[in-house]
Amino acid sequence: MKRVTLFAGHYGSGKTNLAVNYALKLAGSGLKTLIADLDIVNPYFRTRDSQTELDEAGIRIIVSPYANSNVDVPALPDEMYAVTDDKSYHCVIDVGGDDRGALALGRLSPALREENDFDMLFVVNFYRPLTRDWESALTVMREIELASGMRFTGIVNNSNLGQLTKAEDVAATDVRARELAAQSGLKLLTTTVKEELAAKTPDSIENITPIRLHFRGDWVIY
């Protein structure tokens, strides 16, 4: 396992939820963990929504002081340099969506490349309208690499329809995920499913990671 794990991908592919899950897993296995929210695009749904849970797990959270506030300032916190300055931490980085969001990573990429102890994971949800096939997903992947100055090292198939996802919805995207892996030359590291669906997912899908959905608000269910 690398010291730094970055989650990047198309806007709304589920990076934040995945990053929170991964950070909790690292901390749960006894590692000194830090999560950095570098999202400069999304105004509402942020790492900070899971603050209580992350705090309880002893995870250090680095997030813009303006996240979840009433001002719209796409600022990065100076504290984010802890990711590369303090190597005692295992770091999870939640990168903003698309090439626009990944631009912010440029601030850290020289140090990350120099240390060369990171995994940068491409998170893909084939149910998002602008990444419905491997071709469009590959385009987004290359755009992010160009904007961030970083190369992806693996793929996470995070395909879902939110809370209403069924096991067969996830299974139906497996072919596309494999094709994206083949075409990009990267490994399909894992396919995520909601915890409660893990047992129902067909065996043909390798390396399943059960995840929990972190949502904000009582208005989600309708």
Partner: protein
């Protein structure tokens, strides 16, 4: 039903606009509606459409007037402060009897306010969108699916009545993600013999204009417009009911507030209080008859709003103040919790009989 995709409310409405045949979008970024512009910036070039980031909201609404005059489907979007800037243009659209779609993904105000969700532009949308006597059709989506379907319907109504349709969403519905089916059905086409499309030497000039030099004529224009409004009030009011048949307490709520209210109603029923929901889908025309009907059997009403209480006036007017109407509200970007709504339902249940 077609294939489902997972979309943000703002993306769903942008895609629905394209499906409804809109090929002209003019806007200016503002949170929490920026994804509309971001999505259309990517999509419009792929369908030979025009995406233009205007120099200001005022410029954008005037570009809308231009395209609407030419008889094409056109859209602009903004959030509360930006909609204030568009107000002059909204009045001109009404004065010219032009169809257009305007999106307001509301945030907290007044002034610059904040970026968190709000419903405090209710008065603006239903009463005071600009100077002069006029209305807009106002549609209030409560889900990502409705963001898409009401855009489709909104374009249709706009063409049918030669009016502006405003989608009055809130930041939450704009930002949240849900599965959507984009199977919207057929696009209805309307003849627009009034459009400024060039005479080709075959007809007299069409003139799209809101200025009249004669007060007698201007009065007639207003009278005609209000005849149309009366027809709309009679035919186009839309709402959704939830457990209202036997309800003692009727909640009235739209958008995200209706979602919270449903949870509270289920909780109230579990406690033995017969609560129900009327969710206006059109805010103008307001579903007055549904409320009047409910007032025959209900003890009291509760208006749940993300504002200091604006729709509550329409509820009181609709039922002619024959029942008490309580307000359950948060403001400034805050959302009422189901517990807060439940507490208000319990209070309404206590005082309801006293009226």
């Amino acid at each position: 039903m077609g294939d489902k995709v997972l979309m943000k409310g703002n993306e769903a409405l942008a895609e629905a606009a394209i499906m409804a045949g809109c090929r002209h979008y003019f806007g200016y970024p503002i949170t929490p509606q920026t994804e509309v512009a971001a999505y259309l910036a990517k999509r419009m070039p792929l369908v030979d459409g025009t995406f233009l980031q205007a120099e200001s909201e005022i410029a954008a609404i005037n570009m809308v007037i231009g395209v609407a005059s030419a008889g094409k489907r056109v859209m602009t979007s903004s959030s509360s402060p930006g909609i204030s800037l568009k107000s002059e243009g909204l009045s001109y659209l009404a004065g010219c009897d032009l169809p257009a779609l305007v999106i307001n993904v509301q945030r907290g105000g007044p002034g610059l306010g904040g970026i968190q969700p709000s419903q405090s532009d209710y008065f603006h949308a239903t009463r005071g969108a600009g100077h002069g006597d006029f209305h807009m059709l106002v549609l209030a989506p409560a889900s990502v699916q409705e963001m898409a379907s009401l855009v489709f319907k909104g374009f249709d109504l706009a063409d049918k009545y030669r009016m502006t349709t405003m989608i009055l969403a809130d930041g939450t519905i704009g930002q949240m993600m849900e599965p959507v089916s984009l199977d919207m059905g057929e696009v209805k086409h309307y003849d627009k013999p009034w459009a400024v499309t060039g005479t080709k030497g075959e007809r007299t000039h069409n003139i799209v204009n809101s200025l009249s030099l004669l007060p007698e004529e201007l009065e007639q224009w207003n009278f005609k417009r209000y005849e149309r409004y009366a027809e709309i009030e009679k035919n186009e009011a839309l709402y959704e009911s939830f457990l209202t048949e036997d309800a003692d307490i009727v909640i009235v709520a739209f958008g995200v507030a209706a979602r919270v209210a449903r949870n509270a109603i289920v909780a109230a029923r579990a406690k033995g209080i017969k609560a129900g929901l009327i969710r206006p889908i059109t805010l103008w025309p307001f579903p007055k008859s549904a409320l009047k009907e409910a007032a025959k059997t209900a003890k009291a009403f509760v208006s749940v709003e993300l504002s200091m209480g604006q729709m509550i006036e329409d509820i009181e007017l609709a039922i002619r103040c024959t029942r008490p109407v309580l307000l359950c509200n948060r403001a400034g970007g805050m959302i009422p919790t189901p517990e807060e709504v439940l507490a208000k339902i319990e209070k309404a249940d206590r005082i309801g009989g006293e009226n």
